[in-house]
């Protein structure tokens, strides 16, 4: 088999499993929705939802708007929502924004208020019992402990030690003790798989991912907290090539990861580790 044939076959297997998970979740939960940041992973996930239901997504797609995102994100969101014809729901914590919440008032508080609380408010209002999210095991070590079905309590807490078993690809909804279920249909994909899939399916992609003047964004977040990486990859083909040799973590451009690196060094210097 040629290299391209192998990639195609691999992507087909990944896609099949993801679509099965999405269909299973839709059948098991009464009020499900899909989160969409407009990044490559969640755009691929929305596309999988579209394919799972033959072109018409039968549930809303939620975008959490912190109001600090790149203008390209808003443009891309509105364009794709219109072209793909799904119901777009925007979650925004207006109260926190009115009170002046911004990355300047503290990055973590800002994230909590403008992302987590915005989503909590929407969940309470719309009573969603399941959310489809585009997280992947290879993004972070902690995410490697995630399951395809991940129950959360009313405070969004995840009990990693008490998760439903997922043997033989059976995804069972626990009967109680959860407020909503997180469903992770692309948990088994890698960053490279996602880009190969984007390439194969010719998916529209946010222009921020492509290099301009020697820099591109590898992971999209809010403007004040995301920095570009040095790169010359200005096409999907070049991004795929770049990833095949890259040793830099995907989220290296995020502030939180830099803070984590600083803290690890500091705790070492203080003798904690």
């Amino acid at each position: 088999m040629s290299e391209n044939g192998g990639i195609r076959q691999n992507l087909q297997q990944l896609e099949r499993r993801s679509i099965a998970i999405i269909r299973e979740a839709k059948a098991q939960f009464k009020n499900i929705a899909c989160l969409w940041s407009t990044g490559k992973d969640s755009t691929a996930t929305v596309w999988l939802c579209k394919k799972a239901f033959f072109g018409k997504i039968p549930f809303p797609v939620i975008h959490i708007d912190t109001s600090f995102k790149f203008p390209q994100i808003y443009e891309f969101r509105d364009k794709i929502a219109k072209e793909w014809g799904f119901k777009l729901v925007i979650a925004k914590n207006e109260d926190a924004l009115e009170q002046g919440m911004s990355p300047k008032t503290g990055r973590l508080d800002c994230c909590t208020q403008l992302k987590t609380e915005a989503l909590k408010n929407l969940l309470r209002k719309e009573e969603y019992d399941a959310l489809i999210l585009a997280i992947r095991r290879d993004e972070h070590g902690i995410r490697a402990k995630e399951r395809y079905y991940s129950p959360r309590d009313e405070r969004f807490r995840w009990n990693y030690a008490d998760q439903p078993a997922e043997m033989w690809d059976l995804y069972v909804k626990p009967s109680e003790d959860f407020s909503h279920m997180r469903v992770h249909p692309i948990l088994h994909w890698t960053e490279l798989n996602v880009w190969q899939y984007v390439q194969q399916e010719k998916l529209p992609i946010n222009p921020l991912y492509f290099a301009k003047q020697g820099q591109r964004y590898r992971s999209l977040g809010c403007m004040p907290c995301t920095v570009p990486i040095p790169s010359e990859a200005d096409t999907i083909e070049k991004i795929v090539q770049e990833l095949a040799t890259s040793k830099t973590p995907e989220r290296a451009g995020r502030s939180q990861d830099k803070e984590k690196a600083y803290m690890m060094q500091k705790l070492r210097s203080l003798g904690y580790m």
Partner: protein, 231 residues
């Protein structure tokens, strides 16, 4: 005498969360600017010994470092109980907590696993501490909840509020005693994103007005000696 040794208790958060019991009748910051690094074992050893111990405690073996009773103010008391005090009676149980801390930075553990290990030691120490009050001339209990949780979660206000509420509760249960009560921390803490880093300002409070003005952590050696009505 009772000493509540609360690692990383920070005056700003004590005030922010209105922990009136922790503030007692007099409270303020301590000065640790004469230490190069705010190392936990060094600061508690210096508090116990009344002198700067920085050069005497190697970084690599600091958790195993132990002062003898004679080197500390404890020997002024006929009977004493020192629970989990660094550089004196520090428990091996903390190794588990530090293993999870390392695993977190190696992306092998979730913060929840680390937090659970920290709270477990705290609960055990709390039980032992409260049961010891009134049974010795001096009871000193060390609690690292604010430091350990703070290092990975100082930027999460609700989580720190829960920690300070727990420590305020501990102080309330201690307050019932007629003894002199000193609440003291080794250093403060500041947020680095979601994480917490040590600051050069410690905390103290007393249930008697003493009129202390930015005391050094080593100043408490003589204070404990005189207030304990001991030789």
């Amino acid at each position: 005498m009772i000493i509540l040794a609360l690692d990383a208790l920070d005056l700003n958060l004590v005030k922010k969360f209105e922990c009136q019991t922790l503030m007692q009748k007099e409270c303020g910051q301590t000065d640790i600017s004469n230490f190069n690094l705010e190392r936990t074992v060094v600061l508690w050893a210096s508090f116990l010994a009344g002198k700067n111990m920085e050069t005497k405690i190697p970084l690599k073996t600091q958790w195993e470092f132990k002062l003898s009773t004679e080197e500390t103010f404890l020997h002024f008391f006929k009977t004493y109980k020192a629970i989990d005090v660094p550089a004196f009676s520090f428990k091996q149980d903390h190794a588990e907590e530090r293993k999870f801390l390392k695993n977190y930075f190696d992306d092998k553990s979730a913060i929840e696993e680390y937090d659970a290990a920290v709270w477990k030691i705290h609960d055990e120490n709390k039980k032992e501490f409260l049961a010891s009050i009134g049974k010795s001339d001096l009871v000193i209990g060390y609690f690292n909840l604010a430091d350990a949780i703070g290092h990975l979660s100082f930027g999460i206000i609700q989580k720190m509020k829960d920690v300070y509420s727990e420590l305020e509760g501990l102080a309330k249960e201690t307050r019932n005693s007629d003894d002199f009560i000193l609440v003291i921390s080794d250093h403060g803490m500041k947020a680095i994103g979601r994480y917490g880093d040590h600051t050069k300002s410690g905390f103290y409070s007393t249930n008697k007005k003493l009129g202390l003005n930015l005391p050094k952590i080593t100043d408490f050696y003589n204070l404990v000696r005189s207030l304990g009505n001991v030789a």
